[in-house]
Amino acid sequence: MVSPAIVLMVIILLIPVVVALVFSFSSYSLGSNHIEWVGWDNYQRLFSRSTYQKMFSATLAYVAIVVPFSVALGLGAALLIHSLRFAQDFYKTIYFLPVMASLLAMAIVWEFALHPTIGIINDTLAYACDKPWLYNIFTGSWYGTDPVTSWYGNSCERGFPLWLGDKSYALWTVAFISIWQAFGFNMVLYLAGLSSVPRELYHASEMDGVSSAWSQFWLVTWPMLGPTTVFVVTITMIRSFQVFDTVEALTQGGPVKSTYVMMYAIYEKAIQQNLVGMGSAITIVFLIFVMLLTLLQHLLVERKVHYS
């Protein structure tokens, strides 16, 4: 009864890991008849060449942006929605919509919205430059800062960023799209976590004189959400390590390799340039990252569960 499952599991999941490991010590490319062994060369290149250094730093920077923002926004949205009296479901539905939509399709729409000349975002931003009250809000001149030196005031003078075409904005823009897509997922997990926090704990803390929402959050809600947070953080990390769709469709790793993330590097090296050996080495490093994260997640979740 289990044999079909075992056979498929071995062929589809376990053997490929071994195949990748073997190829990572070769300079194999599809179509060639013999395999040339190169020892640790691929790995040496991976950890010394500047292209791959850019790859690691782009990937890590991307993860470091997406994880905190999408987790914090997910938690924030969940807390706000959970405490609402009306229209909880309305917001839940809207915030969950991006999770359902094809990321590739939505990335293309975002690209269009972010288009430097005809996009709705720069259009709107430029429109607000001529409206004094909006200009004052956005430049922060209400709080006494000099409007011209602020990011917004400066952009009003010199034009708004190219977003995906500018190397200092591209990674943030791609990350923004992922955050937009992912935080609704995190919100739903946090809402489930929140609904399982026993109400008595809040009553008890009130009896003990803890009455502000702020201290109740840190004393009761946050610790009770511990397991949820561990899960949300690790799953968001694993997912953001695997980012591909947005990068392939919008930036192809550019400009100047600023969005050259690992999955895209594997695709470009191994599939487009047929450097299977190099691609395999990246695959192995990538697998180690992801497997360690998953393992860490299982360990932490298990400990938390036993703890409670």
Partner: protein, 297 residues
């Protein structure tokens, strides 16, 4: 908890509404631009619906047809070109074929395995279960390269099989179903054995019906993931347009867009995104449960 205060409630709604606007923005852009003429898109005018002023289809004129036949409205033009310039219907059909084949095979493979792992005693059960747990650590996307090399060695690249095969085994599905089956009382199974049912019959006649809720959640999880998947099809379908899944088709469309094609492209995106969104709006609770299934691990 804290006492209800209308001012706080309003402030919360204000924050959440701003968030909702940002979340909705690309959906709005997509829908609205799929309705507008190229001119309106370029100048950002016409509101949500566009003026729907009659326009001339340049491509149709080039084909030498009389001008009368080539006059159309932007909405008709956009959606018509979406289906005519690229075989969108074919892409959608491929999407349906691939997603459903994957799900059906996943069920056929994982249900008996889950049953054997939860309800039968046999030598090596623990080892196999540990293998399942280990395989949970390996995301299929991460091993795409060796899978691609293996598939191309046996000549399966650019086939339906390439799109389906790597997903036929869902260790997560096995794990999930095993956890679920463990809650099914043994008496039920013993009674079925008394009636002379074979183990396979028990899986499909006894276990399957009890597992319907879990199965629906898993179906949603699987269908949504594979309908929207772009990475894997991109790797194994390299040239044959007839095998394109919806995301690949949309990407191809964008590749050829010369700037004036935004309307039809947004129409294509709308057609691809709408089915799941509508399904979600109709059965929200089930969808949220299905998508967040991984949260149950």
């Amino acid at each position: 908890m804290n006492h209800y205060s209308p001012i706080k409630e309003i402030a919360k709604h204000a924050i959440l509404l701003v968030g909702a606007l940002i979340v909705i923005l690309p959906f709005y852009v997509m829908l609205s631009y799929s309705l507008k003429s190229p001119k309106e898109i370029e100048t950002n005018s016409g509101g949500f619906w566009g003026a729907q002023a009659p326009m001339v289809d340049e491509y149709c004129v080039k084909l030498g047809k009389p001008a009368g036949q080539c006059t159309t409205t932007p909405i008709v033009f956009n959606y018509q070109s979406a289906f005519k310039k690229a075989p969108l219907l074919r892409y959608l059909m491929n999407g349906v074929i691939v997603t459903f084949s994957i799900f059906i095979i996943q069920v056929i493979v994982s249900m008996p395995a889950a049953y054997a792992l939860s309800k039968l005693r046999w030598w090596g059960r623990e080892t196999v279960f540990n293998m399942v747990l280990f395989s949970l650590l390996i995301p299929v996307h991460a091993i795409a390269l060796p899978l691609y090399v293996m598939l191309s060695k046996i000549g399966l690249v650019n086939t339906y099989a390439a799109l389906i095969v790597p997903w036929t085994i869902s260790v997560f599905g096995i794990f999930l179903m095993r956890q679920f089956f463990k809650t099914v009382p043994d008496d039920l199974i013993d009674a079925a054995r008394m009636d002379g049912m074979s183990e396979y019959t028990i899986v499909w006649r006894v276990m399957l019906p009890t597992a319907i809720p879990a199965l629906i959640a898993f179906a949603i999880f699987s269908v949504v993931a594979h309908w929207n998947d772009y990475f894997w099809p991109k790797i194994v379908i390299t040239g044959n347009q007839n095998l394109f899944t919806p995301p690949l088709g949309l990407r191809e469309f964008r590749g050829g867009a010369d700037g004036s094609d935004w309307g039809p492209m947004m129409a294509t995106a709308t057609v691809i995104v709408i089915p799941l969104i509508v399904a979600f709006l109709l059965a929200q609770k089930k969808f949220v449960g299905g998508i967040t299934l991984t949260g149950m691990k």
